[in-house]
């Protein structure tokens, strides 16, 4: 049929083959943007942290360390119980509080406060922390992470934070 339609360098058929490859690749690249964008979105969406009330000032005894539960900063409507999170909260003075992450700094397992021993202990790989959150034993490369905490109108509030991860 068409070898006679050669113009300069490129036959008509070659031209359309190339055009086809370019156009279909372009279509692929275009739809890839929203697809990959959707899949990667959670990495880049940073919900602003929120102050969450965890109890009235009077309900915390000085020197005691208790588990407080609160809701993530902006949970999805279908998150159910997974929207909840927790922290170890200690009233260290009249209006001074200190809040530790429940996540072990080793690999994120939930640490428990052992009141008698005044230690945080991790069940997974045996990480142990002193009362002040510093490492007492086991594999954790650093002490427990802390959350910002404040007293606001008689309410103790914790600032929601991402799950703390230890990076290289």
């Amino acid at each position: 049929m068409s070898d006679k339609t050669r113009t300069s360098e490129c036959t008509r058929r070659q031209f359309f083959v190339r055009l086809g490859i370019v156009l279909s690749s372009a279509a692929g690249a275009l739809v890839a943007i929203p697809i990959i964008g959707s899949i990667l979105e959670p990495i880049f969406r940073k919900p602003p942290p929120k102050w969450r009330p965890v109890g009235v000032l009077g309900s915390f005894t000085e020197g005691e360390t208790v588990l407080v539960k609160f809701i993530d900063s902006s949970p999805l409507p279908w998150a159910g119980v997974t929207a909840e999170t927790a922290a170890w909260l200690r009233r260290s003075g009249q209006s001074d509080f200190i809040a530790f992450s429940v996540n072990c700094a080793h690999l994120g397992c939930p640490v428990r406060w052992i009141a008698g021993a005044k230690l945080f202990m991790c069940p997974c790989h045996g990480g142990v922390y002193y009362e002040d959150g510093s490492v007492a034993a086991g594999p954790p490369p650093r002490g427990l992470y802390q959350y910002p905490v404040r007293v606001n109108n008689g309410q103790v509030e914790i600032l929601t934070s991402p799950i703390p991860v230890t990076t290289a």
Partner: protein, 474 residues
């Protein structure tokens, strides 16, 4: 009967099915491949098909939403007629698949079937191994209970150790900065769409390569692979002595598949699916996320590696193992195939099996885990119901000693057994050790009162083999 025959003839004429499939099914294979040693690849495939069938069945009922998945799993397990069995098959089928992938890999490695011209057979197999591992992990996470939630966190914390992009990877795995609505939906998408699709593609490729390169003949010592002549030799072998794969070789595959599938079914009925833990509430911290048995060796590895090296081991370790497996056929793709002439290969397999079983055995016991639910020691064990020894024994229970140390079978395994500690350490040594800690023991200098410390030391000093203090030693 005649009608069926003519219907089939019509169908086959219009579709050309038997002409297309027949030669593949009946292709000649070396006679010595029809051995029970060669059934593990096909058995893995059958286990995968079993997983697809039961997985699709579970998807009829399972709700992949963070807030409802747990209830749907409870419903499947407790309120349907067959759901418990289907979940059981899916769970134990996964175990079977892991086991068979491992055995298949060992079998191929021992017979050096990865050598010329089957390098790509091996590499596609390594990709399938990686995909199977990801299926195992994502499957445990979408079993959306408390352990699942904490497993996802542990996985993201491991990924976080990757330099530069750690936080991104961690957020990518759990679908945001915290566990939540996105976590489960994403894990579900990996587990039922992305990874299975890749597995289908790579199984297709893997099987295509088996047909193209032929099933490797069972190796003979002193018959090395030479890329220059191997193909010609193989062609000649199957042409002169070959037997049709279907049915002469395939019947063993089918019988072994029957054994695998019925074993999984029986275990699924007798033992059933793994018990669902408490609900997936990240604020419930009473959790110990131990993975399913086939990952327990890695769990032990994470606990036992030296803290100074752990970031390297966690990130580079799996990468290095993957890379080594990937490169194996490029390290040696010629020469002897028989394990009789490859003692190092046999030693390697033995070493890997020993290492994994060793880690597995330690992981099952997990001596490094504090025993929060250990039975407190009793007045009977203490040997007193008042006085300093008794008070010291109670302190042993209350001050956390019990979680890591055992006395008369009560307590944890992290630290030394203290049943006879009074024979080994003096009062001064005991005091020093309790105050300052050491090795993997916290110092209790800041927590114990003088009274408590004295009582505890008195109690520990009374832990001796000798019947009573003051009597002369034997």
């Amino acid at each position: 009967m005649n009608f069926l025959r003519s219907a089939w003839a019509w169908f086959d004429d219009r579709t050309g099915l038997s002409a297309a499939v027949g030669p593949i099914a009946k292709h000649a294979v070396p006679p010595n491949t029809a051995t029970w040693f060669y059934v593990f690849g096909s058995a893995t495939l059958f286990a995968f098909i079993l997983q697809v069938a039961t997985g699709v069945t579970l998807a009829f009922i399972y709700v992949p939403a963070a807030g409802e998945a747990y209830q749907s799993l409870q419903y499947i397990t407790n309120q349907t007629t067959f759901g418990r069995i289907v979940r059981g098959i899916h769970n134990w089928g996964a175990s079977a698949m892991m086991l068979l992938v491992g055995v298949h890999m060992i079998q191929v490695y021992l017979t050096a079937a990865y050598k010329f011209p089957r390098e790509m057979n091996w590499i596609s197999g390594v990709v399938l191994l990686a995909l199977t591992i990801v299926m195992g992990f994502t499957g445990q996470v979408i079993r959306w209970d408390q352990t699942a939630v904490w497993s996802a966190i542990v996985a993201s914390e491991q990924a976080a150790r990757v330099p530069f992009m750690g936080r991104w990877l961690a957020d990518f795995i759990i679908g945001g900065e915290t566990i939540g609505g996105a976590t489960l939906s994403r894990m579900f998408a990996y587990h039922v769409f992305i990874i299975p699709a890749l597995i289908f593609v790579f199984i297709g490729f893997h099987l295509y390569l088996v047909i193209r390169n032929g099933i490797s003949e069972f190796p003979k010592a002193g018959d090395p692979v030479d890329p220059a002549t191997y193909r010609e030799k193989y062609e000649k072998l199957v042409k002169t002595k070959g037997i049709p794969f279907w049915p002469d070789a395939a019947w063993k595959d089918m019988i072994f598949a029957f054994i695998v599938i019925t074993t999984v079914l029986v275990i699924a009925i007798v033992i059933g699916p793994p018990t669902l833990g408490p609900p997936p509430n990240p604020s419930n911290i009473d959790a110990l996320p131990v993975p399913d048995w086939y990952f327990v060796f890695y769990f032990a590895f994470l606990a036992l590696m030296p803290p100074a090296l752990e970031t390297y081991l966690m990130v580079l370790g799996p990468l290095l193992v993957g890379l080594l497996l990937f490169c194996l056929p490029f390290i040696s793709n010629r020469g002897e195939r028989s394990p009789l002439r490859r003692p190092w290969a046999v030693a390697m397999v033995a070493l890997v099996i020993l290492t994994i079983s060793g880690l597995w055995a330690i992981g099952i016991v997990s001596p490094w885990s504090p025993r929060f639910h250990a039975e407190p020691i009793t007045a009977e064990i203490i040997g007193a119901d008042s006085g300093p020894i008794y008070r010291g024994g109670m302190d042993f229970n209350d001050k956390g000693c019990l979680y890591c140390h055992t006395i008369d079978g009560h307590g944890g395994l992290r630290g030394p057994d203290l049943t006879y500690i009074g024979d080994r350490l003096s009062s001064n040594e005991l005091t020093w050790r309790i105050m300052n800690g050491g090795l993997n023991m916290p110092g209790f200098g800041g927590t114990l009162s003088n009274q408590e410390l004295t009582d505890l030391v008195t109690f520990l000093k009374s832990r001796t083999k000798k019947p009573a203090q003051g009597l002369p030693a034997d």
